[in-house]
Each structure stands twice: as C-alpha cells, then as structure tokens.
C-alpha cells in the first residue's frame, strides 16, 4: 500500500519534511520508469515498468531511513504555521513530491493533511506577519499595523475601570469573604452555567435594543463563536452536505465550518452594484446549481451584521430568507456576533425578533452569538448557540464537552454582565467611539480617493481599491495586498480571502487603532501605491 500514489492530494504539507537525498532519488526513479517501460514491452509493460523502479526506490528509502542520523532529542524546531509571505511560498510541482509523500512517511489522517499544510490564505499569512512584527507608536514605529484582525480595543478603559471597582476575589466568589473554589474547579455543566446563560440572555436582549427576549433554556454556551458554528454544522449537516453562504464572507468560515465537519460552503455572490446586498434570486440560483451537481444543501449561513461588508439584512429580507428556507426545507444559521457593534443609524433586526413576531417555523432557525466583538473579550472564549430546535439543542449540549467555557471565566462574566448600569454605559460609549473612528477612517480613505461600501456595523470598513490594482483580477488584488503588507507595512484582508467575486476590495479593521494612528495608516497606504498609480493626484 505504500506504493500507491495519491495523485489527488496536495503534497504541500510534506514539502517541509522532504529530505534532499530523497527528492533527488525520486527524480532518479522517475527517470528509470520511462526507459524500463520501453524495455519491458507488451501488456505488462506499464505495470512492470512502474513496479520495478518503485520497489527499488522503496528499498532505497528503507535504506536511507535506517541509516539516517538520529534527530537531536532536545528542542526540535517548532513547526511553523504558515508561510511568512505569499510571494516566497514554495510551489513545488506535485510530480517531484510523489515519492517522498507516499513512501516511508507516517500517515496521518487525510483531513489532517489538508489542515496541517501552511495556510495559503493571505488572511492568515497577513495575520501572522503582523503579529511577528507588531506596530507600536513608541517602541516599534516601523512595525506592521494590524488592520486584519477584527478586534475592538476602543473601550478597554471601561472594562478595566469596572474590574477595579467591582472585583475582589471574583473568581473564587465573595460570599462573606469566604473563599470557595469548589464551584469553579470541579466539573460544571458543559453547556455553561445557568447563571451565565441568564446574564447572557439579558445582555443579548440589551444590545439588540430590547426588541427581543432570549430564553436561557434555549442557549448553549461554547468556547467562542468558532466552536459554536462548528457544533451547529456538526448537528445540521453530514459530511459532503453544503451550506449556502453569501459572499464576501468571513475568511474564518472556511476553517470553522469545513475543517473537521467535511461540510461544503457554496458561495452566493453579492455585488458592489447593490452594495453587496443579498438577493433571493442569487440564493435560488446557487441552490439549484448545487442541487444539480448532486450536493445536498442543508442550510444558509448568514452573518448579520455582515462581516466583512458591515451592512444589515432588512426585516423584509429576513422574511424572504425564512420563506426560502421553508420552501427548500433547509436550516438558517444567523451569525449575529456584531449585533452590538452598530455605528450607523439603520436598525438592526435579529432573526429572533422576526420569529417572535410571525408564525414562522422556528425549528429551522439557529442564532450564533459571542462576546469577542461586542464586549471585546476574545480571549475569554465565550460563544452562544441559540436555537429553537430541541433536538439541535440536545445534541449541541452534549457536543459542548469538547469546547466548554472555563468556569472561572464564567463566574467573572456573570458579575460583569449582570451590572446593568455598567453594560448600559459600555454600549453607549462603545457606539459613540465606533461612530467616531468609522467616520474618521472613511473620511481619511476618501481623501486618498478610496471609497468604502455603505455600512452600519462591525469593526471595519470594506474599501474599494480596485482603481489601485494593476490588473483587474485576483492576481492584481494580491499584488496590491502584498505591497501594502511589505512596503506599506499594513495588514488588511483582501477580498479574495473573503471569496468576493469582484477584485480590488479590502477589509480594514479600524478598532485596533488609536485616533492618532489613522494618519499613519493613510500615509502608509499612500506611500505603498504612489509609484504604481497617479490616481491619488486625480482626486
């Protein structure tokens, strides 16, 4: 079996491990096959011609393995997670790696092979690059400015203040000054404590303007929104089934949804001409086309407010989506993780609110929420599955044992979320600061003649730099991205990483910045593109 050549597989992950002599030997073996085939004529020619050199090669491999010097025992090189730079990425032809891949190498699972290979998405490459050399006004002014990570640092002072005023030994409880670790160190319900669910329900209702109430018993807490989405996918779809996803979409979905579940994502393309609004026609088209290929569609995965565009789904659109889901008998997952990060004047309507008011079939609707964006606590890993389907909840509760929230963190959050006055002030201030930063950033880009899509929520803007790219294609877009990263030293997320069908769009997160960083960012963009275009002068 070690002589089989899995041609379908991408050999990239093993390139790292390929040893030089092996690769040379592989080439030598290939050179052997062809002449041997002509020597051994007849029907068995191909088989013998391949088999003999392969067997020879196999023994050579064995020999090399037995006689190679042992690896040093201490501190083996740490595995790298992604290539440092798209341009430097090795693209070895699969042919030269055929042998090294299939022989002698310990076989891990094929899903692991697809995951372990270096992340080729510029989304992850950029994130890594920025975290290796992070910009700091004082200590590292030439570092990379991170605009690729949707993280909100605008209101940390409020949270810090609350901590200092309210917490003594918060994680171990404060009852009569008695310390008690029993309630947090021991096994807790995997799907979250009832106290946190109650506090969470209140918080969610609050940020959605009180228009909808959430039932704690319909809630399952997970270690972040990432496992929340994965858990839902495990519950709703089998391997090979698909979800429809409006594009451009959050680049992380490709990992969160597809990695381990084996579920496919079918893009439903939205276009700049309608400000990337979703249309039922597009949904219908994608649905029919996918069905034609024999793939079963199990649902629609929406993000509302949308990441990366920042626009909202209107009430009418939500109705239309629910009708569509009923007609096709599929599920709807609504990722509303940015519901509390509104800066526009438009009204956010939760899927839960629409269900409240109309006689829709609730069983097929599932909402995802989390505290990473709206309360800017991504490190705390708190995600929520809110479902109306008892069976999904039952399965999800059991599945959370693989990803539950740490108990001390739960306890801390219960006290924070239950402080109504603090939450109110936080939401108000956060909105004001988001509005301010968004306005400044968009105006700054406009000064460079870069237009942003209309948006109302989120931690970023969706910028149209299509006039700055050398060719109107993904290649042109990635060239500009590369230039922004390596010349301008700013990391933004290119539209292609979000599966945007139109090249030249970039997601820029502005909530990791301080106000005084904005001119620096703008200047860097200007510098990165100044030689390629005279566009900046034409404004």
């Amino acid at each position: 079996t070690h002589l089989s050549f899995p041609l379908g597989h991408d050999p990239a992950p093993l390139v790292v491990q390929t040893r030089k002599p092996v690769r040379a030997a592989a080439a030598a073996a290939m050179r052997l096959i062809v002449p041997l085939q002509s020597v051994v004529q007849g029907r068995g020619g191909l088989i013998f011609g391949s088999l003999i050199p392969c067997a020879l090669f196999y023994f050579l491999q064995l020999y090399l393995k037995r006689h190679r010097s042992p690896k040093p025992q201490s501190n083996p090189p740490s595995p790298t997670t992604s290539s440092p730079k798209l341009a430097e990425m090795t693209r070895t032809s699969s042919r030269s790696n055929l042998f090294s891949r299939s022989i002698g190498q310990v076989r891990i699972s094929s899903r692991a092979i697809s995951i372990a290979k270096p992340n080729e998405s510029p989304y992850y490459i950029g994130l890594d690059k920025a975290s290796e050399d992070p910009y700091d006004r004082l200590s590292n002014p030439d570092g990379v400015i991170q605009l690729g990570l949707s993280e909100n640092r605008l209101c940390f002072d409020l949270i810090e203040k609350w901590m200092s005023e309210n917490l003594g030994h918060s994680i171990t409880g404060r009852d009569n000054g008695e310390l008690n670790i029993n309630g947090i160190a021991t096994y807790q319900p995997f799907d979250g404590t009832m106290e946190l669910k109650l506090a969470m329900a209140g918080f969610m209702s609050h940020i959605m303007g009180g228009a909808v109430t959430f039932e704690p018993s319909q809630m399952v807490l997970t270690a972040g929104a990432t496992p929340a989405i994965e858990t839902l996918c495990f519950c709703l779809a089998d391997q090979g089934n698909a979800f429809l996803v409006p594009t451009p979409y959050y680049p992380g979905f490709d990992r969160d949804v597809k990695f381990r579940t084996g579920v496919e994502l079918i893009p439903v393309h939205c276009r700049s001409t309608d400000n990337f609004a979703l249309s039922i026609t597009a949904l219908d088209q994608a649905f029919n086309q996918t069905r034609k290929h024999g793939t079963k569609i199990r649902g629609i995965l929406l993000s509302n407010p949308a990441n990366p565009v920042g626009n909202l789904l209107s009430r009418e659109m939500l109705y239309a989506i629910l009708d569509f889901a009923r007609e096709k008998n599929i599920h709807v997952i609504s990722d509303e993780i940015f519901a509390g990060s509104m800066y526009g004047n438009e009204e956010f309507v939760s899927m839960a609110e629409v269900l409240d008011s109309e006689g829709f079939d609730k069983n097929r609707v599932h909402i995802v929420y989390g505290l990473s964006k709206d309360l800017s606590l991504p490190g705390f890993r708190v995600g929520v599955i809110y479902s109306f389907n008892e069976n999904v909840l039952a399965a999800a509760r059991k599945l959370t044992r693989f990803s539950s929230v740490s108990a001390p963190t739960q306890r801390l959050l219960v006290s924070m979320l239950s402080d109504a006055r603090f939450i109110e002030e936080y939401i108000k201030t956060n909105k004001r600061r988001l509005q301010n930063m968004h306005a400044l950033f968009v105006a700054g880009l406009k000064g460079l003649n870069i237009r942003c899509a209309d948006s109302s929520a989120g931690l970023y803007c969706w910028a149209d730099m299509s006039k700055l790219i050398s060719s109107y294609s993904e290649k042109g877009e990635l060239e500009l991205w590369d230039k922004l990263l390596n010349v301008g030293k700013i990391n933004v997320t290119p539209g292609s990483a979000c599966h945007c069908i139109e090249p030249g769009w970039f997601r820029c997160c502005f909530t990791t910045l301080a106000e005084e960083d904005i001119p620096v960012v703008l200047e860097r963009i200007r510098k990165a593109v100044e030689n390629t275009t005279d566009l900046l002068n034409s404004s």
Binding site: P13, V16, Q17, K71, S74, N75, P76, P79, V106, S109, R111, A112, I113, A116, S131, E151, I159, E160, M163, L167, G168, H169, S170, I171, T172, N180, I181, N182, I184, A185, T186, T226, P227, F234, C235, A237, N241, R255, F259, R260, R298, I330, D361, N363, S376, P378, G379, F380, R381, N391, V392, A395, R401, F402, S403, V405, S406, P408, T409, L412
Partner: protein
C-alpha cells in the same frame, strides 16, 4: 408539523445517532445520582457519587495560593494592569507563559526525566477535546484505533462520535492483572486486518483508567516497538500521571522512547489538569505530539476548544510557582494514598478484593463472587442493585468494555471523609447480607464461574464488537426493561 416529521432527515447523523454513548450504564448511574444525590444532612439516603473521577482533596491548598496571589486571576485590583493584554489574547498558540508552565509541570510530574518542549504544547478543550483532536489528526472516518480494555467509558464517545473513527478493543485479562501484552495486541490487530479494518494506532491510558495501575517500562517498550513495527500511531493518555501515590513510579512514554530506536513521528501524548490538579472546570487539555504535522494540525484545531486566556494566565502563574507545585504534588499523593488505603482496607475486611493499584482517583473492584452467573447480564443486574438499593453509583465493568463480568470502577476522591464512611458501611452491609442469603448457592456459582472462564478464552473478535450495538444499546440497561430480579434483589425487597 411539517418540520417535525422530516426532523430526523434534516439533522445530521451525528446529532441523531447514539454515539454520544450516554445510554451506557456509566452515564445511567450519573442520572440516578443526579435525581437523588446524597447529602449527609439533607438527604442521607441519597445516592453517593462514586462514578465521577474528580479530585478535590487538595482544594484547600489551591484556595490558599489564590488568596496569596490575587494578581494571578487578573480580575482583581492587583492584577488589573495585566487585564488588557490577557483579555484580547486569542492566539491559538496559547500564552507563552502558559505553555512553558505546562511543559515544565509535565516534566516534573514525570520525575524530570524528560524535558517537554513548550512549542509543542497544543491546547484543547479538556482531555476530552484533546483525545478527539488526536483522532481527528490521525485517522479518517472508518479507520480504527486499538484500545486495551477495560478502557475509559467516555472513549466510545470522545474518540468516535464526531470523528467517525472506530474502536477495536484489545482484551486484557484478570489472570495477569489486565496487563497489555504484545500477543493480545497482535491478535486484535490481525483480526481487525482480516475484517478489513484499517488500524491507525493504539491509544492507552497510563496510569490506567479504570484500573488505577501504572504501565511498567517493559510494557511501554513493547507498545512502542509494536507501533513502530506496524507503522501505526501510539496515543498515550497520561492525564492521571500525578495521581500516582506510591511506587512503582509513573513512567511517561516520552521517557521510554528516549533510549529506543523508534519513529518519534508515531508518538503522541494527551495531558490535562482536570485530574492531576483537580481542575476539570478549567477545561485544560493538552495534545503533545512529537510529529510536526500533527502538532501543526492540532494547533489549528485548537480554535475549537481554546482555554480562556484569563484561565491560562492564572494557571501559568500557579504552575510556575515551584514551591507551591512541589508542596501540592506531595500533599496530593499523601492524601490520595490515605484515602485509597481506607477504602481498599475497608473492602478487604468484608472479603472484597481490588486490583492492586497505586494511581488514579479510583480502584477496580472485584465483585465476581457476588455475581449470580458470570455474564454481563448478571453484572448489570448486580449494578442495578448497587445503584438502586445500596445507593452507590459505581461503574460496571461492561461500560469499560471489560471482557470479564463482575468488575466495577469505584471513585474514591470526590467525597469527604464522612461520606467515605457511609459508603463503606453501605458496601459492608450489602456484602454481608448477600453472603448470608447466598451461602448455599456459593458452590454452584463457583463452578459456573470456572466454566465461564474457560469459555472466555475462546472469545472471538466478533463478540468483542458487540458492545457497539448491544452493550451501549438503551434496551439493555433501560430502567424499563424487564430484566428479572436477581436473588439479591429479592433478598432485599
């Protein structure tokens, strides 16, 4: 309603199948406990939980440390200056301090004979998540792992449910204290191959859950050479490493492989702080692989079970406090040893023996003499008596896929001293009463037991796979199923 009718077809197989394993007696016992939990004052007749391997014996030490180090939790005035950096930290590599502290702790638990590389520490949601992650990385749906039985009841769920990986038990026998032998491994491996099952590896627990024994060097070496010969993986689940309370000491697979000619890419360790520190609520699980691809892949998967950064920071501070860790480990093994002694001695007095063990939060109790006949059915009956009448939630051997009926896992750490006395009293009373009633039948059952043991030697591979459908099936253990009452039940009712 339209949706409900089509409900099953609209949910995934994972959501609707039975592979969560929660219909096994192991979990049934938990349900019985949940509906009627023992309390010394409020509910003295309630069920005592002896099915949960929890270790709160040294919480006083932990509380003291937290009180003395308020800045570690970052959620106090003292720790506030760290808060901002920690709260936004979401890198799946984990805090450097955390990885270093865990690596050091793992080394220390292994007697400082091995150094663990912090860069290979991969986080995951508890040992549950760590074991699942290992399976996701090493095997594809339909592939199988060899698991020496008796094995942890949760494996059926953790290893199989979402991954689609299968378990092939390697039957270990009481005749040699359930040792894992090369012969048993070979036999299981070959039988699997004949049935066209692709074996991707072996997963062991060391110290063993449920036996409470440590694997000796020889066994570990034979395991490592077995996987090297077969070119399959070895996952060593070492989450009970620090619970060893007397000699022989714990030996990590990492130590054994140091002086062996083996393929390091095949060896993977699962670790956790849930048992050794008694922190299951903190959800810290670790995958430590010597294989770069697996480390890489597992790290990317850790997004699905990251430990809260606040908890990482707290643990980093705690585990880097050498004096505290040393004191904690010493005290913990002292208390575990004492508790283990009290229990096993108490049982010995009424003639109940246990497998000689020196680790874990449980022991493996031999109730074969109390079985009506040497069958799984009789074991289940006895278990039902124990949970319903004696009101102790112990876990029957069948839920650990033990090939011989009559063994039970008894957890001894998750209760206070008074509850221990109550539990022991209940067992004593039950055994003595049962003995009186059964005295005249003793000879007959002895003969039966021996006959059964002979049959057992011929147990075929197909029978070992039964557990999937039968042992785990709800029918067999459902409280509503018409299982005839044993003489013991009749004796007491």
């Amino acid at each position: 309603m339209e949706f409900t009718r089509k409900n099953r077809q609209l949910l995934s197989r994972i959501a609707t199948n039975d592979r969560h394993g929660e219909n096994s007696p192991y979990f049934d016992g938990w349900k019985a406990y949940d509906s009627n939990p023992f309390h010394p004052i409020h509910n003295p007749d309630g069920v005592i939980q002896m099915g949960l391997a929890e270790n709160p014996l040294c919480f006083d030490l932990i509380e003291k440390w937290i009180r003395e180090n308020p800045d570690a939790s970052i959620c106090t005035a003292e720790g506030l200056d760290k808060f901002k950096d920690i709260a936004i930290y979401q890198d799946y590599h984990g805090l450097r301090e955390f990885r270093e502290a865990v690596a050091k702790f793992m080394g220390r638990v292994g007697g400082n004979r091995v150094t663990f590389d912090p860069n290979r520490i991969v986080m995951s949601g508890g040992a549950t998540g760590a074991n699942e992650t290992a399976m996701f990385c090493l095997a594809d749906p339909g592939d199988a792992f060899l698991v020496p039985s008796p094995y942890y009841a949760g494996f059926a769920r953790d290893l199989r449910w979402r991954t689609g990986v299968e378990i092939v038990p390697v039957h270990c026998k009481s005749s040699n204290n359930f040792r894992i032998t090369r012969a048993a491994l070979e036999e299981a491996y070959e039988k699997a191959q004949r049935s066209n099952i692709n074996i991707k590896g072996v997963i062991i627990t060391n110290p063993s859950n449920p036996l409470g024994t440590v694997l000796d060097k020889e066994t570990l070496r034979s395991l490592v050479s077995f996987v090297t010969d077969k070119k399959i993986h070895l996952v060593s689940d070492e989450i009970y490493a620090a619970t060893v309370f007397s000699s022989p000491r714990f030996i990590s697979v990492a130590e054994v492989m140091q002086d062996m000619d083996c393929n390091r890419d095949l060896i993977h360790i699962v670790y956790s702080l849930s048992k050794d520190m008694g922190f299951p609520g903190f959800r810290v699980g670790i995958v430590y692989s010597f294989n770069d691809d697996v480390t890489n892949c597992a790290r990317k998967m850790s997004s699905f079970g990251l430990v809260s950064s606040q908890t990482q920071f707290l643990l980093a501070s705690m585990l880097s406090d050498d004096e505290f860790v040393g004191n904690f480990l010493r005290e913990s093994s002292k208390r575990l040893a004492k508790r283990h002694h009290v229990f096993t001695k108490g049982l010995e007095e009424v003639g109940i023996s246990t497998i000689k063990s020196n680790a874990g939060l449980f022991f493996w109790m031999d109730m074969r003499p109390l079985l009506k006949e040497q069958t799984t059915k009789a074991e289940t009956e006895l278990w039902r008596v124990i949970i319903n009448k004696v009101k102790l939630n112990v876990s029957p051997g069948s839920s650990f896929l033990c090939s011989e009926p009559g063994w039970f896992r008894v957890c001894f750490a998750n209760m206070d001293d008074k509850t221990v006395e109550v539990a022991l009293d209940r067992i004593r009373e039950f055994v003595l009463q049962g003995k009186e009633e059964n005295n005249h039948e003793a000879d007959k059952s002895q003969a039966r037991a021996q006959r059964w043991r002979k049959q057992n030697l011929r147990l075929s591979f197909s029978s070992s796979r039964l557990y999937d459908e039968s042992l785990m099936s709800p029918h067999m253990i459902s409280p509503h199923s018409p299982i005839p009452h044993s003489p013991l039940v009749r004796a007491r009712t």
